[in-house]
C-alpha cells in the first residue's frame, strides 16, 4: 500500500504539472480539482497507515542510500502533508475563481502550482540532504514563476530579487551539504546525525551547520535577510501570496529545524542558538512595526509574515542545552505555530485579495465603508488576525502559550517579553485594517462583489486556524505517532 501512497504523493503532482502544461486554464482547472481530491485521499491514507503501522523509511524504486533517494515518513511528516493538502487546496480553489481565465498566460498557473506542490511533498519527506536541496530548488523556481506570472515591471522586479536571494540561499545550503559529505561521506540525515554523536573531531560540521542555517534563513526571510519577501509576497496575485507565505517559507524552515534537531545540536554553541533567537525576536518586533506603517493592504500582511516567521526561530534557543521535556514542548509549540500561521496567513491573504477586488485599490484608506459590503471576507480577515495575535481559542494562542511555558521552564525569561510585545503589535495592525474598513465615507458606495466561492475559501481556512487551537492536542497527537527505527 505504501508504494501507491508514495506514488500518489510524489508522482501525481509532477504528472499533473506536465499534463496541465498542455491544457488551457479551464481544462487545467478541472484536472486540478481531481488532483486536489487525490492528494486529500492519499494524505489521509498515509495518516491512516502511519497510525496503524508506525512510520517507516521508504527507498524510492528499491535503491538504497547513498545512490537511491531515501524518504522518511513519520508523524511530523504526515502532519505537514495534511497541512499542505488543506492550504494548497484552499488556495487552488480560490485561484480557480480569482484568476481571469481569458488571459493567455493564466494557463501557466496550474503547471507551476503542481510543481510547487511536488516540491513541497519532496521536502517534507526527504531523508537525505541533497534530495532536500533539489526539492527546495523545485519550490524556489516554481514560486518565482508564480510571482512573475502575468505581472508588470514591478512584479518582475520583485520576482528577480526573490530569485537572486533564493538561489544564493540554496547555494549556501548546498555548500554546507558539500562540507558534510566531505566530512562523513554520507548524505542521509540519519547517518550524519549518528556520526556526529560519536565522532570526536567533526571539524567541518560546525562551518557546514552555519552555512546551511544562513542559507536557509535567507530563504525563510529571517531578519535582516528579509528584504526580498515583502515585495514578492505583496505584488503576487493573492492566492499566490497565500501559498508563498503559508507553505513556501515553511519548507526552508522545516529543513533548518530538522538539520538543527538531528545533527546540529551536537556541534552548535550557545551563542549560535541565542543569536538566531535574537534575530527572530528583532524580526517579530520590527516586522510588526513595519506592518503597522504600510500604506498598502497586502504589504501589511506581507510584513506580518516577516514577524510571524520570527517566532519560528525561537526554536533554536529553546531547544539548545535544555532538558528533553522542555525541548519537546518547544518543538510542539513551534509545530503548532507553523500550522496555525500557515492557515491564518493563507486565510488573511485570500480575504485581503477579496477586499482589494471589492474596492478596486490596494490602499488601506480605500477600504472605508467596505464593512457593509463584504462583512464575510472582513470577518475571515479578523478571525485570521485573532490567530496571529495569539488570542484564545486560536491555534496561535496554543502555540504561543507553549512557547511561553518552554521559555519559563528553561529560564530564558527574555523571550516572554518578545512574545507579549509581538502579540500587542499584531493586534495593532489588525485593528488598523478594521478601523479603516468601518470608517464611513460618502463619495464611495459602489463596490464590486466578488464571487461567493472566493469568500468561502478564505473563511474555511480562517475557521481551520481557530480549530487548531480548539483541538491542539489532537493535532499534536498526529505528530507524536510512533516511528519504527528499522531500515
Amino acid at each position: 500500500m505504501s508504494n501507491w501512497l508514495m506514488a500518489g504523493l510524489l508522482f501525481t503532482p509532477l504528472a499533473l504539472a506536465t499534463v496541465s502544461l498542455l491544457l488551457g486554464f479551464r481544462q487545467g482547472r478541472a484536472l486540478s480539482w481531481l488532483g486536489m481530491l487525490l492528494q486529500l485521499l492519499v494524505s489521509v491514507g498515509l495518516w491512516w497507515l502511519v497510525r496503524h503501522e508506525g512510520g517507516f523509511y521508504y527507498t524510492l524504486a528499491g535503491w538504497d542510500a547513498p545512490l537511491g533517494i531515501e524518504l522518511r515518513v513519520d508523524g511530523l511528516v504526515v502532519t505537514f502533508l495534511l497541512l499542505t493538502t488543506l492550504v494548497a487546496s484552499g488556495c487552488g480553489i480560490h485561484a480557480g475563481f480569482y484568476l481571469e481565465p481569458d488571459r493567455p498566460w493564466q494557463r501557466y498557473f496550474w503547471p507551476l502550482y503542481w510543481f510547487l506542490w511536488a516540491g513541497l511533498n519532496t521536502v517534507w519527506m526527504g531523508g537525505d540532504l541533497f534530495n532536500l536541496y533539489v526539492g527546495l530548488e523545485l519550490i524556489t523556481l516554481s514560486a518565482v514563476g508564480l510571482v512573475a506570472l502575468g505581472g508588470q515591471a514591478e512584479a518582475l522586479r520583485a520576482a528577480l530579487r526573490y530569485l537572486l536571494a533564493a538561489l544564493l540561499g540554496s547555494l549556501a545550503y548546498l555548500l554546507g551539504v558539500a562540507l558534510v559529505y566531505g566530512q562523513f561521506g554520507t548524505l542521509s540525515l540519519a547517518d550524519v546525525a549518528g556520526q556526529v554523536r560519536v565522532s570526536e573531531h567533526a571539524l567541518l560540521m560546525r562551518p557546514a551547520l552555519v552555512l546551511m542555517l544562513v542559507g536557509l534563513a535567507l530563504k525563510t526571510a529571517l531578519f535582516p535577510l528579509h528584504g526580498w519577501l515583502p515585495p514578492a509576497h505583496g505584488i503576487a496575485k493573492s492566492p499566490v501570496s497565500a501559498l508563498l507565505s503559508a507553505l513556501v517559507v515553511k519548507a526552508s524552515f522545516y529543513i533548518a529545524a530538522r538539520v538543527w534537531l538531528e545533527a546540529g545540536v551536537a556541534v552548535a554553541s550557545q551563542w549560535m542558538a541565542q543569536l538566531l533567537g535574537v534575530l527572530g525576536a528583532v524580526a517579530i518586533i520590527w516586522g510588526s512595526w513595519l506592518a503597522l506603517c504600510q500604506p498598502r493592504l497586502k504589504q501589511v500582511v506581507a510584513y506580518s509574515s516577516v514577524a510571524q516567521i520570527g517566532y519560528l526561530f525561537l526554536l533554536f534557543p529553546l531547544t539548545f542545552g535544555v532538558e528533553a521535556s522542555v525541548s519537546l514542548h518547544a518543538q510542539q509549540g513551534i509545530t503548532l505555530q507553523v500550522i496555525s500561521h500557515a492557515l491564518a496567513k493563507a486565510a488573511m491573504f485570500l480575504a485581503a485579495g477579496n477586499l482589494i477586488l471589492a474596492v478596486g485599490s490596494n490602499r488601506v484608506e480605500a477600504l472605508a465603508g467596505v464593512s457593509h459590503f463584504l462583512p464575510f471576507s472582513l470577518f475571515s480577515f479578523g478571525l485570521a488576525g485573532v490567530s496571529l495575535m495569539g488570542l484564545p481559542p486560536s491555534g496561535g494562542f496554543a502555540a504561543k502559550w507553549m512557547l511561553l511555558q518552554a521559555s519559563m521552564a528553561s529560564g530564558q525569561w527574555w523571550w516572554i517579553m518578545v512574545l507579549a510585545g509581538g502579540g500587542l503589535l499584531s493586534a495593532a495592525y489588525v485593528f488598523r485594517i478594521y478601523k479603516a474598513s468601518f470608517l464611513e465615507r460618502d463619495e464611495q458606495d459602489h463596490f464590486y462583489h466578488p464571487d461567493r466561492r472566493l469568500e468561502v475559501a478564505a473563511m474555511l481556512l480562517a475557521l481551520a486556524s481557530l480549530g487548531v487551537g480548539v483541538s491542539g492536542s489532537q493535532v499534536l497527537s498526529v505528530m507524536a505517532m510512533p516511528f519504527e527505527e528499522v531500515q
Partner: protein
C-alpha cells in the same frame, strides 16, 4: 598541501569572488553570472573535497550532474525574467523607483 584541500580552497576563493560579484555588481546579467560562479565553486568543493576516501568518489559526481541541471534551469528562468523586465522597463538594474517596495540587500550596498 593535499589535492582535495587544494580543490576545496580554490572553490572557497571562487565562492568569495562570486559573492562579491553578486553584491557589488549592478547589471542583472552580471549578478546571474556571479550566481553561476558560486554554483560552480560549490560543485568544485563537492567533488574535490570528497576525494580522500580511496580515490575519486562517484556519488558527488552524480550529485553535481543533478546540480548542473538545476542550475541551468535556474539560469534559464533568470534570463527569461531579465529579458522580459528589460522589454518592459528598458532597464538592466534592480533599482526601485517606489520607495516602499522595500530595501534590497543586494542592490544599494555596492
Amino acid at each position: 598541501m593535499s589535492t582535495p584541500l587544494l580543490y576545496a580552497l580554490t572553490g572557497a576563493v571562487l565562492w568569495g569572488i562570486g559573492l562579491m560579484g553578486l553584491i557589488g555588481l549592478r547589471h542583472l546579467l552580471r549578478k546571474l553570472l556571479a550566481l553561476n560562479l558560486i554554483g560552480s565553486a560549490t560543485f568544485l568543493i563537492l567533488v574535490g573535497l570528497a576525494q580522500h576516501h580511496n580515490g575519486p568518489d562517484p556519488v558527488p559526481q552524480a550529485l553535481v550532474l543533478t546540480g548542473i541541471v538545476v542550475s541551468i534551469a535556474a539560469t534559464a528562468l533568470g534570463v527569461v525574467l531579465i529579458r522580459r523586465y528589460f522589454h518592459l522597463t528598458g532597464r538592466t538594474e534592480l533599482e526601485s523607483e517606489v520607495p516602499e517596495a522595500g530595501r534590497d540587500e543586494e542592490g544599494h550596498s555596492g
